[in-house]
Amino acid sequence: MSRVAYYTKGMKKKITFGVLLKTIGSLAELFLPLVMAYMIDTVAPKSESAWPLVFWGGIMLMCAVAAWLGNVIANRVASKVARDITEKVRTDLFSKTLYLSSRQTDEVTVPSLVSRLSSDTYNLHNMLGMVQRMGIRAPILIIGGVIMTFTVDPILALVLLAVVPILTVIVIILSKRGIVLYTALQRASDVMVRKVRDDYSGTRVIKALSKTEYEGRSFQNINDNVAACETKAGITMGITNPLVNMLLNLGMTAVILVGAYRVAAGAAKVGQIIAFTSYFTIILNAVIAISRIFVNISKGSASAKRIGEILSMPEETCKEAFLDRNDAEFISFENVSFGYNGAPALQNISFGINKGETLGVLGATGSGKSTIVSLLMRFYDADEGVVRIGGKDVRTYEKEQLREKFGVVFQNDFLMAASIRENIDFERGLRDDDIDNAIRFAKADGFINSLEEGKESLLTVQGTNFSGGQKQRMLIARALAAKPEILILDDSSSALDYKTDAQLRKALLANFKDTTVIMIAQRISSVRFADKILVLDKGRIVGFGSDEELMKTCETYKEIYRSQVEEGIAND
């Protein structure tokens, strides 16, 4: 609730103005049938000339114009308010998302964040507009309409009043039922989509095993199920219109019938009956509108809740930091243990390297290699122990100050749909010659220069118009461009052939002497040259030292060497 107040702050006047106009517009519309009845029953029978009729016709016209203007202007105000609120909410949500901690991000998951940013803010926008436009109008029409009819003829009004609740109940039941049925349909259609996706990716296997007919048959079941759900939903929801129309028309018939007795009793006049049929239409349409608003609000408020969940996520606080230590190595891990949601990823890790040294990290998938980087860069905080840079607990650094030290290439790192230069600069406002140097060191100059537009060439989304090796070199250039204190390459040589890999290593040694390098790799050949190599297995250290030392002492290292160098070859 306080959030609603926050986002509508400064818009109260606008909103009030809109509501007022909407009310005036809607009321004006309600007067039309009343005037009409008056004309038919009172003015026409008595008048001797046309002028009184034209006068009252003029009044009706004024009402119609007022209704039109009031509604149009109010709708525009509503759109403006909805626009401003949505814009603010969306930007807040995006920025909150970027500043979430990695743990929070894992918890919510990226796809969910994406859908909150796109469809949920869209639903919110729709709801905000609709509630202002219809949410005010419909109740006014219903309540105002009922009051009007009661002043005209209470007995006839009762006929009308009897139909409204029935209709309301039917509409609400049907829309609730609809939600259930359409969810079922959605689920069935998800299964179908999955099947198509499965068979698309397995097309070679299916053809090789001559399973085409079998797959066709198995799709048939899924298809039948989707069709059955569609039919059920369609037939159930299809009853809405005929039913509503029937109620509306039967109600009008009842008005005429009852009206006959009222006229006979002298309590009502013919014009009033005609006016009643108009009120009937107005009120019942408003009821239907309310059912639509009902669906819209339930959708919108579910979305608002999902957005609110993110916005109200607390800032993560960290445990008390350790004291500085002057005797620690430049980068040091002391008895560090860490787990993602309980499952231990690293256990009791201790090691240290000096400034300017190169550290290689080796191990199978899931051995905890990348987690080392995540802790060092403080994407996560260690559960136990302390990670230090320059003797200081990483938790004592300002986040910005800490991250400025790094240049990093992650596994499956990210390239934007932008130019090569923009991707390397990455919004840091780097100097052109720094970028050029980085391109050279990363061995990316060859292919970039051969491009017609050089480093201004554009990448498609995910950089699909470049090969894996080329993308890798752009990413390395990005990491090098700001001359980082610490360079992290997570599995970044795997897309490079052995030759380029070796050249890159030489360039690093020659030009980045003071830079501390952490290199995570699957290939033993990429880390053998490092000053220190850390061998991980299932989150534990099984070896730490130089290639030479490890070949003597570390069984796992020797095994990897055997299986890769003696058993592997040329292909990458």
Partner: protein, 590 residues
């Protein structure tokens, strides 16, 4: 313009027309349903149109100055009630019928489409994305479905209602119709405004929104990197820009769109004003009864409804036609080339394979294999090595006839492989590919996929031969464990063992193997290596090789470089040559 020049606009129209004609074809399969639907629709609408006339009569009966004829009023009201109930009942029956009808049509289209996907050449599927296929089979077909079951009906109903209401108004009072006619141009104007101004704005609005959503999705995939480089603020700024553009486009569309509703109401109200004023004037001179005014008022409302909806329905039908066109285009794609007319089934092949001056490129102009000849005897192993993207999988594609060579011949047991039926040729091969394909289903189903009618015992044996039996049996549900989402809970190594197990079930004499250098722990690596060795026993093997042991033991090594065979021979021979192979071999020791 001369007749011969066909503008893109004209071909587009032609395509639309063709699509419409084909859709009609689907309808004609259900002639009787269509005829019944038509009768129901006419009936329901006529019933609904009788109502206002009856109510006018009833009001006149009430308005009689010489006392109310209650018998007449009651009779008319009962009739009205019956007609209205009848109309609603018919209209519900109609929509049930249409839903069933379109269900049948759509279901068979979906089935056709899916079966088409299965027989499309691999080369075609390689070029398009899964998302495209999914769009065809779900969104496009949904659009067609909605249009079939709803829009057509609405359009037809609209026509009948407009005509009927017009007749009703003429019958009630031609003079009043003349006055009411003033509002018709206004209705038309709103309709035009809607399609000319508002619709493009809505398209723009979706485009901007799509841009924004694309941007946020892109940025969120790069969340880690953005945080690592501390670029949050800059990205928020960029987002803000796109966000403003999106909400602005939304607003602009709304600005005009939110006029439509009140304007339609205004025209209706204006109609009421005109009818009641003019009606009263006519009443004054005795040209119309109150009942007549009432009937006219009700007809006039019926009349403007469809006119206001017209633009909407048309555009929906248009987008359904566009969707149908896309669906038909996919249905019309050439399937894999038919087998030769006198193609024979390949039975009990020995496994002798020969490439004879084979030339091939995926694009006619880009040659991937220039001129490849080699011979593999039954039981021999051919290892294919080379850097990524050099065309190693092309040889596999040609062997399995996923593609055919541009020139040259591939022979199996001395005969051109095109002389065999594709089905029997493929059945002669077992394949283990690098992208381990597992589908939604149990482990049993995934392994048994290798051979029709495989028993539980067969699957168990195959799993154990592939060194994965113990693992499967250690799972709580064993072979009945569900594999979801392409095997997301399984490690890469396990997935590989599953596909080896699947291959173990096959009794083929030829094997295609893509050894993956996945980063698995040493124990799993040994299991995989052992399982693959077992699989290769006694078969003619084509291996995209990564393991030195495989390569050393190969009878022939083909070294592929830049889409051509750079070197060939046995391991020792190639090392002696001191060429590209030895360079590759040595690079990792540098």
């Amino acid at each position: 313009m001369t007749e011969k020049k066909i503008s893109p606009e004209a071909t587009k129209k032609q395509n639309r027309r063709a699509a419409a004609a084909r859709l009609t074809g689907y309808f004609l399969k259900y002639k009787w349903s269509v005829i019944i639907a038509f009768v129901l629709m006419v009936g329901s609408n006529l019933f609904a149109l009788i109502g206002p006339w009856l109510s006018g009569e009833a009001i006149d009966a009430i308005a009689k100055t010489d006392g109310i004829d209650f018998a007449l009023v009651i009779r008319l009201c009962v009739l009205m009630g019956l007609f209205y109930i009848g109309s609603s009942a018919l209209s519900y029956l109609l929509s049930v019928l249409m839903i069933r009808l379109s269900r049948n049509i759509v279901r068979s289209m979906r089935q056709d489409l899916f079966e088409k996907i299965l027989v499309l050449p691999v080369g075609y599927l390689d070029r398009i994305q899964a998302g495209d296929l999914i769009n065809r089979i779900s969104y496009d077909i949904d659009t067609i479905n909605a249009s079939l079951s709803n829009d057509l009906l609405q359009a037809a109903t609209g026509v009948i209602t407009v005509i009927g209401a017009f007749i009703g108004m003429v019958a009630a009072s031609p003079i009043l119709l003349g006055v009411f006619a003033i509002t018709i141009p206004l209705s038309v104007l709103i309709t035009i405004k809607r399609s000319k101004t508002v619709r493009p704005l809505f398209r723009q609005r979706s485009a901007k929104l799509a841009q924004l959503n694309g941007f946020s999705e892109e940025m969120l995939t790069g969340l880690h990197t953005i945080r690592a480089y501390g670029r949050e603020e800059q990205m928020i700024e960029k987002f803000q820009e796109k966000n403003t553009a999106a909400v602005e486009a939304y607003y602009t569309a709304d600005y005009y769109a939110s006029m439509i509703g009140p304007s339609v109401n205004f025209v209706n109200n204006l109609g009421t004003v005109l009818i009641s004023t003019a009606g009263c004037l006519l009443f004054l001179v005795g040209k119309i009864s109150p009942g007549g005014i009432n009937s006219f008022l009700l007809y006039s409302r019926k009349f403007s409804g469809p006119i206001n909806e017209f633009a909407n329905i048309m555009s929906e039908i248009q987008s359904a036609m566009a969707a149908a066109e896309r669906v038909f285009r996919l249905l019309d794609e050439e399937p894999e080339i038919k087998d030769w007319e006198n193609a024979k089934d390949l039975e009990n092949p020995l496994g002798e394979v020969e490439f004879d001056h084979v030339r091939f490129g995926y694009d006619k102009d880009v040659v991937v294999i220039g001129d490849l000849s080699f011979n593999a005897q039954p039981g021999q192993t051919v290892a294919i090595v080379g850097p990524t993207g050099a065309g190693k999988t092309t040889i596999v594609n040609l062997l399995m006839r996923f593609y055919d060579p541009q020139s040259g011949v591939i022979r199996l047991d001395g005969k051109d492989i095109r002389e065999y039926t594709r089905k029997s040729l493929r059945a002669a091969f077992t394949m283990v590919l690098q992208d381990t394909w597992l589908f939604e289903g149990t482990i049993f189903e995934n392994i048994a996929y290798g051979r029709e009618g495989a028993t539980e015992e067969d699957v168990r044996k195959a799993a154990h031969a592939a060194n994965v039996g113990d693992f499967i049996e250690s799972l709580p549900e064993g072979y009945q464990t569900k594999i979801t989402d392409g095997g997301s809970g399984l490690s890469k190594g396990q997935k590989q063992l599953f596909t080896i197990a699947r291959a173990m079930l096959s009794e083929a004499h030829l094997l295609i193997l893509d050894e993956a250098t996945s980063n698995v722990d040493t124990r799993t690596e040994l299991l995989i290596r052992d399982a693959m060795a077992k699989l290769m026993q006694g078969k003619t093997c084509f291996v995209i090789a990564h393991r030195l042991s495989t390569i050393r033991n190969a009878d022939l090594i083909l070294v592929v470089k830049d889409g051509d065979i750079a070197e060939r021979g046995r391991h020792e021979e190639l090392l002696e040559k001191n060429g590209f192979y030895s360079e590759l071999y040595r690079a990792q020791f540098e």
